[in-house]
Amino acid sequence: MLAVRDGELDALGELFERHHGPLYGYLFKFTGERAAAEDIVQTVFQRMLKYRHTYRDDGSFTAWMYHLARRCAADHFRRAAASPHATDPETLADISDPAPRADQQAAVRDDHELLRAALAQLDREDREVLLLSRFEELSFAEIAGILECSVGAAKVRAHRALHALRQTFFRLQQSRPTAP
């Protein structure tokens, strides 16, 4: 990123190839939408280019990237909340509802879909800290910096979110209809 800051814009291509996959995975699980995750990844790299002059070599690039991603995701959720939009039929299964419905049960077919549904039922903050805590390359100090809280608070929130996710996951699994 230092090379990008100094004008070698091609170096951003290497960063994209190295990081866009994990970033997309994080945003896909965070937003639950493929198109939104792709848009946010695009916006994150766009902001990297725009604010490359402000990049300082005082932390890890990954932490800076997830910091940008968090801001972009927040913008996404703010826009989504402000403007009404047509619901994608594919995401109907993600709409949280404690009472399992027939269409939801039909949509949740495997573990990934169960996880997606369980994550959607978590609070956004819990989902965020839990997903960030799964990245080995981010220390809890960096996660705390991204979330603007203390290291202890970040750890406690992550552990609590993991327990909550497990509970939701298995509840959804138990309500899944068995195959004929």
């Binding site: 291509g13 695009q42 280019l49 080995e136 996710l165």
Partner: protein, 276 residues
Amino acid sequence: MTCHDARQVLPELLDRRTPPTALLEARSHLAACVDCQRDFASLARITTLLDSPPPTAPSTRLRRSFYAMLEEEKHSAASARQVADRQHRAYHLSLWRWVIAPLAACALLAAGFIGGSRFSSAPRSGNPADSETAQRLAELQHKVDSMGQLVGFSLLQQQQRPTNDRLRGIFASTSLEKPTARVVHELISALALDPSAHVRLCALDGLIPHVDQEVVRAGVLACLAREENPLVQISMIDFLATARDGSARSALERITVNETADRSVRDAARLALAQF
């Protein structure tokens, strides 16, 4: 350690950042407790799912859009660099035009002035060609001076010529740098004999630089006795008073008591006597 305590730290045991040597008590409890192992396994299943990649990979649209954006940024950065270079050049040009060029012109002018004044004022004695040129210039100056005197004589001597010509002769004589005794003599003659008061006044002005010569003071004193124009008389009295010529005292005293003389002339003579 109780099961409750052990289950509190299970997420930390599943965290790959936790070193294997940490939480040994919880690990030993986990090895012995079947319930906690079941709890651990369910959590491990969740974390495995969380760590697995998403079921759908990003579309090719993402990569395409990114590289298109990168290319666009590179172009705009290049054009911004060109604009910055242009502005930089324009700045230097304006700096040259408004600051450096005037300063350089002033410096050149000053250098030319200093060089000219230094090298043209002092004759170069060491160069024979220069000394020869200086000698020739002095000869030419002398010839011009002699020619001017000759013209002055001829103009002064022609009393029958118009007043303007005679005045021009006076001016020509007074403008000479080193007038000869003959020129002074001719000026005194004009002061004594010229019928025009203007010419006589001009001749008197021409004699002022030679006031230290006794012949000039005597000539003016002689002319004063026969002068009838009050303006010329007063000018002559001032001339003699400036010269502090003691021989003029008796003549001035006579004027002060001369009833026929103009009152201003008498006053000027009285004033001149007071200055002696």
